[in-house]
């Protein structure tokens, strides 16, 4: 289990259905970061932002039938503030893939950890 570099930026797509966006349009709900399989993200890995956006849009259209609501990102240092573990998890078609985990022993984030990510994440692009 290889940990992701501390200065890495992590991107997560937000779909349109179900709606996972806050009512006041400030960003995603913390529920977006609650997954029993770990929070699936993609690392920047020195790519320019336009390349990251194109890559995420391509992945989204490949795996889903509905459009994207937004693309958000969070720095690994934000994860570290809450003692989260971010591990490399490369896939057959995705060398950038990583997982955010509660710790080195548990997968599910606490509500406090998930809320922290939701508050600190940057909105990279909106699609509405």
């Amino acid at each position: 289990m290889k940990l992701v570099d501390i200065d890495e930026e992590l991107f997560r797509r937000v779909g349109q259905n179900p709606d996972m966006w806050s009512k006041d349009d400030s960003g995603p709900t913390s529920a977006l970061f609650k997954d029993s399989k770990g929070v699936s993200v993609n690392q920047r890995k020195n790519r320019i932002e336009d390349d990251v956006i194109s890559f995420e849009e391509e992945l989204h259209s490949k795996y889903t039938g509905s459009g994207m609501k937004a693309l958000v990102s969070v720095g690994n240092e934000v994860c570290t503030e809450k003692e989260l573990h971010v591990i490399e998890d490369t896939l057959e078609d995705n060398d950038y893939h990583a997982l955010i985990l509660r710790s080195n022993e548990k997968i599910d984030l606490t509500s406090g950890q998930a809320k922290h990510l939701a508050k600190k994440c940057r909105i990279v692009k909106k699609y509405y």
């Binding site: 779909g15 806050s22 913390s30 529920a31 609650k34 029993s36 399989k37 699936s40 406090g112």
Partner: protein, 216 residues
């Protein structure tokens, strides 16, 4: 396809005044925002007030699609005329006036209905479809809360209710089948997180009331 284009409706006639040809009651239904409530009201009440079963108190329930009777409340006070139907030899209701109508649409309930319709792998990462028990549990809790939360699904078999103030204070109920996780961010930015058993609706209600209570 619009999953909300269906109706569950309960009418309860609380007062009936044959002298002035008027009645007063409440109607509760789940429906889409643009559902023609008034037409549905007339359609439902006509048989209730037909000649052979007209009474001072009547309850009639019609359900299509939804299983609960919350979501939209309509208060009404209606005047009507009874007209004799020669073909069927019965009196029929003709509503001549309808007023004092109040409509409150539960966005939270509609969101739960949307969550209910999600299939397996709804997040494209293997998340499960939501169980009927969890949906019912969430609706039951929603019905006890004094203010509507924002509602979201999670990919760990739970449904999340959220309240948030501009000040940053935050209250969250993450509802699982058999327990509830409560998480709060307080005014001083401290955090609390603890579990409740699934039958502690009153505690949840009190937490929401406390969250919105102004302390001088």
């Amino acid at each position: 396809m619009n999953n909300f284009n269906c109706l569950s409706l309960t009418t309860s006639i609380q007062q009936f005044n044959s002298g002035s040809n008027s009645f007063y009651g409440t109607m509760k239904c789940n429906t889409a925002d643009d559902y023609p409530y008034e037409n549905e009201l007339l359609r439902l009440l006509s048989p209730v007030f037909s000649h052979e079963n007209r009474k001072s108190s009547q309850t009639r329930t019609i359900k299509h699609g939804f299983s609960n009777n919350t979501g939209v409340e309509i208060e009404y006070f209606t005047k009507f005329d009874l007209l004799f139907d020669n073909a069927q030899n019965t009196n029929k209701l003709k509503v001549s006036e309808c007023f004092n109508k109040q409509i409150v649409i539960s966005k939270a309930l509609l969101k739960i209905e949307q969550i209910k319709s999600l299939e397996n792998n709804w997040n494209n990462n293997g998340a499960s479809k939501f169980s009927e028990k969890l949906i019912e549990r969430s609706i039951s809790i929603l019905n006890t809360l004094p203010f509507e939360p924002d509602v979201f699904p999670t990919a760990r078999d739970s449904i999340q209710f959220e309240y948030e103030k501009a000040s940053g204070e935050y209250l969250e109920f993450e509802i699982f089948e058999t327990w509830i996780n409560v998480f709060m961010i307080n005014a001083d930015e401290s955090e609390d997180e603890y579990k409740l058993s699934s039958n502690e609706n009153i505690k949840l209600k009190n937490l929401v009331e406390g969250f919105y209570c102004e302390v001088s």
